[in-house]
């Protein structure tokens, strides 16, 4: 290994960061310094608090709590790591091997340089001190028999780094194709959102299985239940103590826990701590027992997941070290250690082989093989191609041309689809939570507002695109400016292109809400009509933002290349203003609600009729305002062009 090369590449990284910092705005610089300082302090705090964690809380808990804590820490680390990898992949200037290959650097040097670079990541700097601190606390608590915990941590860390390196290399190679790059970034981000939501969904499902009817509980007389519970718990404690290895038969444990949980669920929620005797460390403390039984139950699921996913092997190894009895105490942690080291070794071996293949030119950086093959049959235009020729209803020829062009761009940009779909995903998750949590408790008369909220939320995805319409055109905006098209047609054409997405996603979001929290059919139809009103208002706000605060966007990502304080302020203010502009949409369901409350049912779909009227009014207002916005666009078009074609740092 050539140390000069290593020093040079380290220097290169430092210069790139320093120059990027120099080029960003003053506000951004202050924010970056603030974040670095906060991150540094947070790292120290997490390390210290990991070591100084007040353990009396844990003393009453079963030993499985350590499995849960370490699994949780591993999950946090994984999340931070995944964010780091995604951010890295979106970087405009990754230090990929193709930048070095024409220089006299050996493959080993190239490999080591790249591998070492993966050590310095946000997740490592921020989270790892907490892991180290807590590991130190466990050694202090359980004695030197816990010292191998640092070996496990080392293997875990190495495994993450090696996998990161291999994963980044693999994705990096795949992403050499620009179209594929965009698809991968979008897919990876969506997958990341889904994966990190899994624990949340499990939690919701788990909570629902132990949920109680609060009103019923509040009316329950506590004393007989409490007596019965205490008796059951004493019996449960005695039964549990028979098993010195901490592994009672699972069927019997489940049955007893279920019985215990059922009794605990019957406890009123207004039961005080004194009544429960929470202050004493008595093993008969019912809430502590309930909590312990829940921990044991949850640990079963987590243990299974940790056994399957290598990221959980650290937690499994530590749990067995804590138990401290029998051969398993040594065997299982050793297996975890060897397993994690093995994965590290194989990942690094694969990564080194890939580096060698790249070095020898066996894999082309400019991969021509991925280009579309030009076969005679493939020249037939697809439906996406035909959009460029399509004349859309209600639009003139030039508006249709702008709409077609924007639609094609949106359909071919996976990152745009990701942005459009993300609010839908959130609605799915929120809807899921409603499904789990007795949605029928929401009064029927108020559900229409939930529907309006859902479609307004989906509009946030649309707004992410409409608020910088010209930024996503990049150099293409120059073509729009040079074309002899009225500026009002450009705005209407662009707005119209978002309509199919807005109506489709809004309708799906509303449909999901209707499944979870059904509302009367006239309210449902009225909310569908409101979708049009909300879309038009969103477009007007988006037009204003696009004209007043345009942003240059890196190709293949949704990240602005350079954002200054004034532009960011305009975006934030106008985004906050959107809910206020949407307030008129509450008028139809509001009047409907008041009429039903004070006059009674009229058999007239008031909400639907008023929503239609509001839509017509909004259309007139839209046409009026968009004409004024066109004038503003004409006045600012050169400023916008400069902003959206500027390649910032």
């Amino acid at each position: 290994m050539n140390l000069t090369h290593l020093r040079t590449i380290t220097w290169l990284r430092w210069r790139i960061i320093a120059n990027q910092f120099r080029k960003i705005g003053r506000g951004h610089q202050i924010l970056s310094i603030f974040l670095v300082v906060v991150g540094f302090l947070a790292a120290i705090t997490m390390g210290v608090s990991g070591f100084a964690m007040p353990l009396p809380i844990l003393e009453k808990a079963p030993l499985s709590i350590y499995l849960l804590i370490w699994a949780g820490l591993s999950m946090v680390y994984f999340t931070a790591w995944a964010i780091g990898v995604l951010t890295d992949l979106q970087q405009k200037e990754p230090l990929t091997l193709d930048k070095f290959l024409h220089l006299p650097i050996s493959p080993t040097n190239a490999f080591i340089n790249n591998f070492l670079s993966s050590f310095l990541s946000f997740s490592t700097v921020l989270i790892f001190p907490a892991l180290l601190g807590f590991a130190g606390r466990m050694v202090a608590m359980f004695g030197m028999r816990m010292a191998p915990i640092f070996l496990l941590l080392f293997a875990f860390f190495l495994m993450i780094m090696a996998l990161t390196y291999q994963f980044r290399g693999w994705l990096g190679a795949l992403m050499l194709n620009k179209r594929r790059r965009r698809a991968i970034l979008s897919f990876a981000t969506i997958m990341f959102v889904i994966v990190v939501q899994i624990p949340n969904m499990i939690n919701m499902a788990y909570q629902s299985s132990t949920s109680t009817n609060l009103e019923e509980l509040a009316e329950t007389d506590s004393s007989p239940v409490l007596e019965e519970l205490r008796a059951s718990q004493e019996e449960f404690d005695k039964w549990l103590n028979q098993f010195s290895n901490g592994k009672p038969p699972s069927d019997e444990l489940d049955r007893r826990l279920e019985e215990l949980t059922r009794l605990t669920d019957r406890l009123p929620v207004n039961l005080t701590a004194t009544e429960l005797d929470l202050d004493s460390a008595s093993p008969t403390d019912p809430r502590q027992q309930r909590l312990n039984s829940q921990i044991i139950q949850l640990a079963e699921y987590v243990r299974l997941a940790c056994c399957i996913i290598p990221f959980g092997w650290l937690a499994i190894g530590i749990e067995y070290m804590v138990v401290g009895q029998g051969i398993h105490t040594v065997l299982i942690p050793s297996l975890c250690f060897v397993g994690m080291l093995g994965i590290s070794f194989f990942s690094l071996r694969r990564a080194y082989k890939s580096t060698l293949r790249l070095y020898r030119g066996e894999v082309a950086f400019n991969d021509n093989s991925t280009k579309a093959k030009q076969t005679p049959g493939s020249s037939r235009p697809t439906w996406i191609n035909r959009l460029s020729e399509k004349k859309f209803p209600l639009l003139n020829e030039q508006q249709s041309a702008v709409t077609g062009m924007t639609l094609i761009s949106l359909l071919r940009a996976p990152e745009a689809k990701m942005v459009l779909l993300s609010p839908l995903l959130v609605i799915l998750l929120i809807g899921g939570s409603f499904a789990f949590r007795n949605a029928e408790n929401i009064p029927v008369s108020l559900r229409v507002f939930g529907g309006l909220g859902a479609i307004s939320f989906t509009m946030l995805g649309i707004m992410n695109l409409t608020n910088n319409q010209f930024g996503y055109d990049r150099q293409g905006f120059r073509c729009l400016l040079l074309s002899p098209v009225k500026r009002v047609d450009i705005l209407i054409g662009k707005n119209a292109a978002y309509a199919p997405f807005a109506f489709a996603i809004g309708a799906i979001g509303l449909g999901l809400m209707q499944c979870f929290i059904p509302m009367p059919i006239d309210n449902f139809l009225a909310t569908l009509v409101q979708l049009g009103t909300i879309f038009l208002i969103t477009c007007l706000m988006g037009n204003l933002m696009s004209i007043k605060a345009p942003l240059a966007i890196s190709s293949g990502t949704m990240r602005p290349t350079n954002i200054n304080l004034s532009v960011a302020t305009i975006h934030i203010l106008l985004t906050l203003l959107l809910p206020i502009c949407l307030l008129p949409t509450l008028i139809p369901p509001g009047i409907d609600l008041l009429v039903n409350r004070f006059i009674g049912s009229t058999y007239v779909p008031i909400d639907l009729l008023l929503s239609l009227a509001l839509l017509i009014v909004t259309l007139v207002v839209y046409r009026f305002i968009v004409a004024r916005q066109a004038g503003l666009l004409r006045d600012r078009e050169s400023i916008i062009l400069e902003a959206v074609t500027h390649i910032g740092s």
Binding site: N19, D98, I105, R360
Partner: protein, 275 residues
């Protein structure tokens, strides 16, 4: 005379498509070699294979008597060659001087040597006043000049230049041409690809013409001159004629009608009455 570049049956396929097809090149040391061909003929793919950036599907390559696809020999070759790759491989967030310092250090040059050569190269390429500008703020021509400066910094025995004059202004182009001519006159070799016949004709001693992946001509310009043939006519003769190619536009055959007629069914243009 020793051989700087030698290939035998050099072939590269991408799937079913053959980008370079059994190319046999021979470039002697001290030669200024121009590699010509229409767009998509395989010039850049060939240069990538010669510089070890892309492995051939079949065939052999020798650069300065070494094999660029042997891991150990590859480093030795890279120490002795300078490359201006197709994508330039610059770092966006470095200044020109920082980039040259980086390249110099990768070639293990002394600090003082790097500084002295960087000063001269930046002055030669007229980039000395851009010391605060980052590469991402450079025009395409400026980037080309910087990549060329970086290729020349280690004082290589062999220079590979992929379209070095594309986007470079006339003044800088002349300076570069003179520098390259001086570079060759002291015994080094230059292998360049270009579309500009005039540049190749003025600078190069030898040319190779590639078309559809095949090396269709390899000769010295001296021989062409003896045959009273210009490089452009030779090039057009070999690759310029394509069967069934469209050579004119149908709507250009007729004289343009009056502006009134032309605008009859057109849109009114930019709005003038819009608020």
């Amino acid at each position: 005379m020793t051989i700087a570049i030698e290939t035998h049956g050099l072939t590269r396929q991408f799937g079913d498509q053959t980008a370079v097809d059994h190319v046999d090149l021979q470039v002697n040391t001290g030669t200024f070699y121009g590699f010509l061909g229409p767009n998509g003929a395989g010039k850049s793919t060939t240069i990538k294979m010669l510089t070890g950036l892309l492995a051939p599907t079949s065939g052999a390559v020798g650069i300065l008597g070494l094999n660029p696809f042997d891991t150990d020999q590859a480093i030795e070759i890279k120490r002795r060659i300078g490359v201006v790759p197709e994508n330039l491989s610059l770092f966006d967030n470095l200044t020109a001087r920082e980039y040259l310092t980086f390249v110099g250090r990768m070639f293990l040059l002394e600090k003082t040597v790097i500084q002295q050569r960087s000063d001269e190269l930046l002055a030669l390429m007229q980039l000395e006043n851009e010391h605060k500008k980052l590469t991402l703020e450079y025009s395409h021509g400026m980037k080309k000049k910087l990549a060329l400066a970086a290729a020349m910094l280690p004082n290589p025995d062999l220079l590979f230049l992929d379209e070095p004059f594309e986007g470079v202004d006339a003044v800088a182009s002349k300076v570069i041409r003179n520098t390259l001519a001086e570079f060759v006159s002291r015994g080094s070799t230059v292998f360049l690809t270009s579309h500009v016949m005039e540049v190749v004709e003025r600078l190069c001693t030898h040319v190779g013409i590639i078309s559809a992946g095949k090396l269709v001509q390899q000769t010295s310009l001296e021989i062409l001159k003896q045959n009273n043939q210009s490089l452009e006519s030779c090039f057009l003769e070999i690759v310029g004629k394509r069967e069934g190619a469209v050579e004119t536009l149908s709507w250009l055959d007729h004289k343009k009608s009056s502006p009134e007629d032309a605008n009859d069914d057109s849109q009114p243009g930019l709005e003038s009455s819009q608020p």
